[in-house]
């Protein structure tokens, strides 16, 4: 598995010296056997070697990462891929408005009639040298994330008032993701932002989307890989020109639609569910349907798409 991922990186054209460094990192920082179950096995691979190289270099240098991008740009896929490549146990921490220090660092609990401290995910991650994925970090209030400041900067400590102060394991890294401008998101304050190296996640390129489809659906015919990738590109272009909103430019929706087609639903209906119906405005939906109908015929059957 581990070798497979490194081979994937080689195939993606990642510089060999980076791959060597990853290998050294893995050999130097061993994972405790009781935590091995937390090392992820990615379902999707992240495609895009520039982003890969940026992320790997930053992590090797001990930096934390902030991945910024609109939906379906692969933020979580990359985070998962990175923990797999570096062979680190992963903690997923979803941020929301009510996230506070107790849900991050830990809280009191009773054990055998005694009040004890129950470790939160950040604490655990720091202790076991894991990768902590801080998902949608800008959903939380800035003051409640302030407890992370000492964790994320050069001090690398967690100080729990009334209990203990621990130092963060050398192998620990934090990877935050955020979607700027979504409903409910706020500006990240500068103090927090300055503790991350920031990667602007690009929209998936047509070439990489084709690779993704090819790998994901091995029975998909070549010409329909072209068509689905082309469809996504058409929608992206339309949205970039402000003719439609981003609601229908939905990679997750496209992949789910292909799954439904694979199960036998008519392609046009599957795309309607996965893409067109995501926009609730009648006119916009008509525009999206026009784009679909210029790629996929109304009468197309499953066996024409799949081998």
């Amino acid at each position: 598995m581990e070798e497979k991922l490194l081979n994937f990186l080689r195939k993606e054209g990642i510089r060999e010296n980076l791959i060597d460094e990853i290998d050294k990192f893995r050999k130097f920082y061993k994972v405790k056997p009781n935590m091995e179950y937390r090392i992820p096995t990615p379902k999707y691979n992240y495609y895009g070697n520039e982003v890969w190289e940026e992320a790997i270099t930053a992590l090797l240098c001990g930096e934390n990462l902030l991945l910024v991008g609109s939906k379906a740009t692969g933020k979580n896929v990359l985070a998962e891929n990175l923990s797999a490549v570096f062979c680190r146990p992963k903690w997923d921490i979803s941020f929301h408005v009510n996230t506070d220090s107790t849900s991050l660092i830990g809280t009191d609990t009773f054990e055998n009639g005694q009040v004890v401290f129950r470790n939160g995910p950040i604490y655990e991650c720091a202790k076991w040298g894991g990768f902590g994925v801080l998902d949608e970090i800008n959903m939380a209030k800035n003051d409640s994330v302030a407890v992370l400041h000492a964790t994320l900067d050069y001090r690398r400590i967690i100080d729990v008032p009334g209990y203990d102060k621990i130092e963060i394991d050398d192998a620990s890294r934090f990877i935050a993701t955020m979607n700027y401008g979504y409903a409910g998101t706020r500006e990240l304050n500068e103090a927090l932002t300055s503790r991350f190296m920031v990667i602007n996640m690009p929209n998936i390129s047509t070439k990489n989307l084709k690779k993704l489809l090819q790998r994901e659906y091995t029975n998909l015919r070549e010409e329909y890989i072209e068509q689905f990738a082309g469809l996504f590109k058409d929608l992206q272009l339309k949205s970039e020109n402000s003719e439609i909103s981003t609601k229908s430019v939905d990679l997750r929706g496209l992949l789910s639609s292909i799954n439904l087609m694979n199960k036998g639903l008519s392609p046009i209906k599957a795309l309607q569910m996965g893409i067109a119906n995501k926009s609730f405005d009648d006119f916009e939906r008509a525009l999206v349907e026009d784009v679909i109908r210029l790629r996929i015929s109304d009468s197309l059957e499953r066996n024409e798409i799949f081998k």
Binding site: D108, P161, R186, E243, D281, R293
Partner: protein, 584 residues
């Protein structure tokens, strides 16, 4: 195939064409709708793809050349049959769906479900062409067959070769109106040259002239009107000679009447207007007057030709504003959604209350042990209120003649802001200002509670001058009288104060200074500062030319946004609003 422009489905057809051409900047001459007026997917694709695969400028000049014949529609349609053939062959590899789209279109043709052409030959060729598409042998022979064979261009031909081939077809089989063409060509060239020159000179004269012309025409109207009034006045004086003493007031009445005629009935009593004038029309604005209206036609002037004419122009401008908005519906609607989200988000993220642990407040019994064992004093819970109090937004549109060229855009922008705040349940009031003679007219479109009246903003029409200082002073005066806690004023202006009515000089000489240039700017900036010092937020969405950006900065400081790209309107205004809301 109906080639015409329908506004309703126009946008959809355009979107198909843009999609096919991968180019969202083209403005195609041809669009295709089916019998029910719906855009035809296949043909619009072909039009878009022609733009993609061929040099359309060459084709375009050929189409113009065809237009020199009175029967040009016939040649155009014939040419499109040929173009369909080669474009399909070029595009089919990229989009296999074209096979089925083409076939289903061909079936429609054979069933007679598409438009039949007036010209029989065209019908025959069209049917024969699509007969071949479905794999049947067409039942034609002779010249018609030859034409069809020549017409079905090979996809290996480039644009020049296609144009050449089409020209050959026309020359071989038809009698194209050469003479006409030659003459026309010369004339066309001549026209083109003179038009170009005209364009050049128009440019040379600068945009300034346009607004100047508008001001001049206003003034002209104005003076014509005045002379008539004088005429009336004279008549009146003849009837009633004894009223000399009250002429000053009479004059005021006449002026006011004229303003009412021009802008619509007053919404407050004359007495109240006078009392407002007393407190506002002082200092630099002494001798000025105010008029508050909703632009509604004053029935008192039901038989007055001028009043009816003004009202008509107002309604016409409303139509233009609405049409502009509708033709850019998607863009503007997206702007509203974006801006609404931004405002709502700021309100959500910054102003919600939250409950937290505290050293005082409501005792949290389960946590009491912490105080005893771990010395934690925070065993109380307290609601931290982030409530900033209610907000109101006033939108002030500059309706002076200098904004004449962008009336539709400003109406749309005003509408976007008003609609976005309305959707966030924030009360909005929208009005415009302009000055004519010594009256500054405030035209109210909607008040705070009239949430369903944002449409009235499309009544926006520019005219006359602008006395920004007095307008802002009046707006602030109106805002002071509302019960909201936080008051925001958004001014959409080109920041070019200019009023023919001077400001009274305080010097010894009775010389008067014009309310324009530095004088106007300083006065406006002063009013803005005063408003901010009194606790209001004043923002400006700058709508003018580059050269006046400096002025905007002088008046509004950092609180102004310049819209370079209309598509980015929502983002830019959104950031401005966000910063303002955060600082409340």
């Amino acid at each position: 195939m109906i080639i015409k422009s329908l506004t309703e489905n126009n946008k959809r057809a355009l979107n198909i064409i843009w999609n096919a051409s991968d180019n969202y900047y083209i403005d195609p001459e041809f669009k295709v709708y089916d019998e029910s007026g719906e855009p035809d997917l296949y043909w619009n694709y072909i039009i878009g793809a022609v733009h993609k695969y061929y040099d359309y400028s060459l084709l375009n000049s050929f189409f113009s050349y065809l237009k020199t014949d009175s029967d040009h529609e016939f040649y155009e349609k014939l040419f499109w049959i040929g173009l369909e053939n080669c474009t399909f062959n070029k595009g089919k590899a990229e989009r296999p769906v074209l096979y089925s789209l083409r076939k289903s279109y061909a079936k429609k043709v054979l069933k007679g479900e598409t438009e039949t052409f007036e010209n029989n030959l065209l019908n025959v060729i069209n049917v024969a062409h699509f007969c071949k598409v479905v794999g049947k042998t067409p039942e034609i022979s002779g010249n018609a067959l030859n034409i069809l064979n020549d017409l079905e261009f090979d996809d290996k031909l480039n644009t020049e070769e296609i144009v050449f081939k089409m020209d050959q077809i026309i020359k071989t089989y038809f009698r194209f109106n050469y003479g006409q063409y030659e003459v026309d060509k010369k004339e066309y060239k001549k026209n083109k040259v003179s038009k170009d020159m005209q364009k050049h000179t128009e440019y040379g004269e600068e945009k300034l002239s346009d607004s100047e012309i508008k001001v001049m025409s206003d003034l002209y109207l104005d003076s014509a009107e005045t002379s008539r009034e004088i005429y009336f006045e004279e008549l009146k004086q003849k009837v009633k000679k004894s009223v000399r003493k009250v002429t000053v007031e009479k004059k005021d009445d006449f002026e006011r009447q004229f303003i009412r005629k021009y802008f619509g009935a007053s919404i407050i009593s004359e007495q109240k207007t006078h009392s407002i004038e007393k407190s506002l029309c002082v200092g630099n604005h002494k001798n000025c007057h105010l008029h508050f209206t909703r632009g509604k036609f004053d029935d008192e002037f039901g038989s007055d030709v001028n009043a009816i004419y003004y009202n008509k122009t107002l309604l016409e401008q409303r139509e233009i504003n609405l049409e502009h908005f509708n033709s850019n519906y998607i863009k503007y609607k997206n702007s509203i959604i974006k801006l609404t989200n931004r405002i709502r988000n700021t309100m959500l993220a910054y102003f919600e209350s939250y409950t937290g642990r505290s050293e005082a407040g409501k005792l949290n019994a389960p946590k009491v042990w912490r105080n005893i064992y771990v010395n934690d004093n925070k065993i109380f819970t307290k609601v931290f209120n982030n409530d900033i109090g209610n907000i109101s937004v006033d939108i002030l549109l500059d309706a002076s003649a200098s904004q004449h060229e962008r009336q539709e855009t400003i109406a749309a922008e005003g509408y976007i802001i008003a609609e976005s705040f309305t959707q966030c349940q924030i009360p909005v009031r929208v009005y415009s200002f302009s000055s004519l003679r010594n009256y500054t007219v405030i035209n109210l479109y909607r008040d705070y509670d009239e949430t369903d009246k944002n449409n009235e903003i499309f009544n926006y029409k520019t005219t006359g001058c602008n006395r920004d200082g007095l307008a802002i002073r009046t707006a602030l005066y109106m805002m002071e009288r509302s019960n909201y806690y936080n008051k925001i004023l958004i001014v959409l202006s080109d920041c070019k104060p200019n009023d023919t009515q001077s400001i009274p000089d305080t010097g010894i000489k009775q010389e008067q200074t014009k309310y324009a240039g530095a004088t106007g700017i300083i006065d406006t900036a002063y009013e803005v500062k005063k408003g901010i010092n009194n606790g209001n937020s004043i923002l400006c969405v700058f709508t003018g030319e580059d050269e006046d950006v400096k002025t905007a900065k002088k008046i509004y400081g950092h609180n102004f946004a310049r819209i370079y790209y209309p598509e980015r309107f929502a983002e830019i205004v959104g950031v401005l609003m966000q910063n303002q809301l955060k600082n409340l």
